[in-house]
């Protein structure tokens, strides 16, 4: 069995997002990039499965659509333990374009299981995995929080309102994962970091898939209003502020 994990390169979750002057792009100048947290968990689970498989899982590969600026993120995924990487050399413009590029890049590679995150932590589209499955004419299962392999069968737990359901599937399949799929993302070891340098990172040309959507405008969230402290034995002041300033009573 060959596993492929789709990796999205996203701003570190602690980054303060700034918008460009005209509010239709994000200012990326001082952004720290990381592996999308769900994708890091997916990769961790894929490696756990490979290690426990006694050789029946032969490789865990990663793929990414993006430009050379993403290579450090891909090297980290290789350091964590992926065997090889493919980067489709194109700026990702929307989920459709990304799914199209990935489908074209891997259509002859016969991956048995493709793992995607449930969403990217930057644009939160939650769209790529499903589209990819359609392009590849593969089944897909979404919201998977537990993934086991029993013989030829995959046992998947899906989160549903108020509980979870267990579904079974057979390869080839696209599995769209969420939190819980692995306990914690794996930390790359020093040996892994050194080995990552020598692992293959293949850059393939994009087919030029067009985006179907276009960003028009962003609105940043309202900054949190400052908190006003009122003395506990001054309820009159509280009422006054709620009435005259906040105008909610």
């Amino acid at each position: 069995m060959k596993i492929l994990v789709c990796i999205s390169n996203v701003p570190d979750t602690t980054t303060r997002i700034k918008l460009s002057g005209d509010q239709n792009a994000i200012d990326l100048s001082s952004v720290q990039w990381i592996i999308n947290p769900w994708d890091e968990l997916a990769l961790t689970r894929a490696l756990e499965l490979k290690e426990a498989s006694g050789g029946s899982i032969s490789s865990v590969s990663i793929i990414h659509v993006g430009n050379a600026g993403s290579d450090a993120t891909l090297r980290k995924a290789l350091a964590i333990g992926a065997d090889d990487a493919i980067r489709v050399d194109a700026a990702p413009t929307d989920a459709y374009a990304v799914a199209h590029e990935i489908a074209e890049a891997i259509k002859d590679k016969n991956y048995d299981m493709i793992l995607c995150g449930i969403e990217s932590s930057d644009y939160n589209g939650s769209a790529m995995g499903g589209m990819l499955a359609e392009f590849l004419n593969m089944e897909s299962v979404s919201s998977v929080s537990k993934l086991e392999i029993e013989g030829d069968e995959l046992k998947l737990n899906r989160e549903i309102a108020g509980g979870f359901e267990v579904v079974s599937a057979t390869a080839p399949v696209v599995v769209i994962v969420q939190k819980g799929i692995a306990l914690e993302p794996r930390i790359p070891s020093m040996r892994g970091i050194m080995m990552a340098r020598k692992k293959p990172l293949e850059v393939v040309a994009a087919t030029g898939a067009e985006a179907l959507t276009e960003f028009v405008h962003y609105t940043p969230p309202q900054p949190k209003a400052a908190c006003k402290m009122i003395d506990a034995d001054n309820p009159a002041e509280l009422v006054n502020l709620l009435h005259n300033e906040a105008k909610i009573i």
């Binding site: 290579d71 090297r75 350091a79 914690e184 930390i187 790359p188 070891s189 020093m190 970091i193 050194m194």
Partner: protein, 382 residues
């Protein structure tokens, strides 16, 4: 001139930081309080690959440069001085002499195990009467056929007595020459050798979760293959090891300062007095500005000393300067960080209390601040 870390060095920093926060931070206070050495954390540091980072792969190392190793020590020290001590002492003082001066056979025999985190090694230089002045060494070795017989004692030996500590390198006097000068020779002494006793030292104010030992040699017979380097080379071996060790003590100072600074930053923004966060009082904001400035100076000076070593240039003077400066910065920053914490900074529930104690060793161990100034002034030709 390129003063940017490489992608690999950044990845190493992030990996070690994640490890320290995930594995060490939850245990640090408890281990400190109980003064308990943790073989488990040592093994985990080994699994991550933190032992033998600068050694070739054939000895179980990672083939990385000095700077990568120093960044790793810095990141562990940012969270906990005790674990950083185990790490820095084992790499620089434990593994160092065997790697730089051992025979091929000795390297094959010891290094692969010492790189796993399953086994540690001590550096036996200091004695009750030979601290800053290592030429005061009294421990002696006399040849006896295919053996050497060692008598004497060592004190304050990091990683010297834990169960997983499998031996120490020991400086001895092998001869007193006619003019009164002594000949120093270093030997490998394995745990379990008859006549070799190890006693764990208790009651430390700092590095309480690190192993510190007294070593006693009572007609301790070791085979002559256990000679490290050549007869008469002992002092050179030990002192050049300390040159390397200084960089890692400096890294511990830098990491402790960084950790203390981050705690102070957070606390100053959260703690409110007189109706506002205490960081809004300019005296505190300026303290934090000074801390940040000193830390950046310390960091880039230390990295430059590592760069010199990695580029096979002399780094003795810069190493001593880095050790002196980083350890003094650690003290200043930890002290002001406690001040910013007010009374809470003196309580064990606050990690700053532990950093404040742990940093105090850094101006004393592996050559006191006074001895660093002596080394630097000699480099200046004084």
């Amino acid at each position: 001139m390129n003063i940017e870390l490489t992608d690999d060095q950044k990845m190493i920093r992030q990996a070690v930081r994640d490890f320290a926060e995930r594995e060490i931070a939850p245990l640090a206070q408890q281990l400190d309080e109980k003064a308990e050495f943790s073989p488990e954390l040592t093994r985990k540091m080994g699994e991550l690959g933190l032992f033998g980072m600068y050694l070739p792969e054939k000895y179980g190392g990672q083939n990385m440069d000095t700077l990568a190793y120093i960044i790793a020590v810095e990141e562990i020290a940012r969270i906990d001085g005790s674990q950083a001590a185990t790490l820095a002492a084992h790499n620089s003082l434990g593994i160092g002499p065997i790697y730089y001066y051992g025979t091929e056979e000795q390297k094959q025999k010891y290094l692969p195990r010492l790189c796993t985190g399953e086994a540690l090694w001590g550096f036996g230089l200091t004695e009750p009467e030979a601290g800053s002045d290592s030429r005061g060494t009294k421990t002696n070795a006399i040849p006896d056929g295919d053996y050497w017989i060692i008598n004497g004692s060592k004190i304050f030996i990091t990683n010297g007595s834990a169960d997983i500590s499998i031996g120490s390198s020991v400086q001895t006097v092998t001869k007193t020459l006619d003019d009164g000068r002594k000949e120093y020779t270093t030997f490998i002494v394995e745990k379990g050798t008859p006549g070799f006793k190890r006693v764990t030292m208790h009651g430390k104010m700092m590095w309480r979760a690190s192993d510190t030992a007294e070593l006693y040699f009572d007609d301790c017979r070791i085979p002559k293959e256990n000679l490290l380097g050549k007869v008469g080379e002992g002092s050179k071996i030990m002192l050049s090891t300390l040159d390397n060790g200084r960089l890692s003590i400096a890294a511990m100072g830098l990491g402790a300062a960084q950790g203390a600074f981050e705690l102070a930053m957070k606390y100053a923004q959260e703690r409110r007095q007189f109706g506002k966060p205490i960081s809004k009082f300019q005296i505190n904001a300026f303290k934090l500005a000074d801390m940040a400035t000193k830390i950046e100076h310390a960091r880039w000076f230390l990295y430059r000393a590592c760069w010199l070593k990695d580029n096979q240039q002399p780094f003795g003077k810069e190493g001593a300067m880095a050790k002196l400066y980083c350890s003094e910065v650690a003290r200043e920053v930890a002290d002001e960080a406690v001040q910013i914490h007010g009374g809470y900074g003196l309580m064990k529930d606050y990690p700053i209390e532990r950093i404040y104690r742990d940093q105090r060793l850094l101006q004393i161990g592996e050559g006191t601040s006074e001895i660093q100034r002596l080394v630097i002034s000699r480099h200046l030709g004084l």
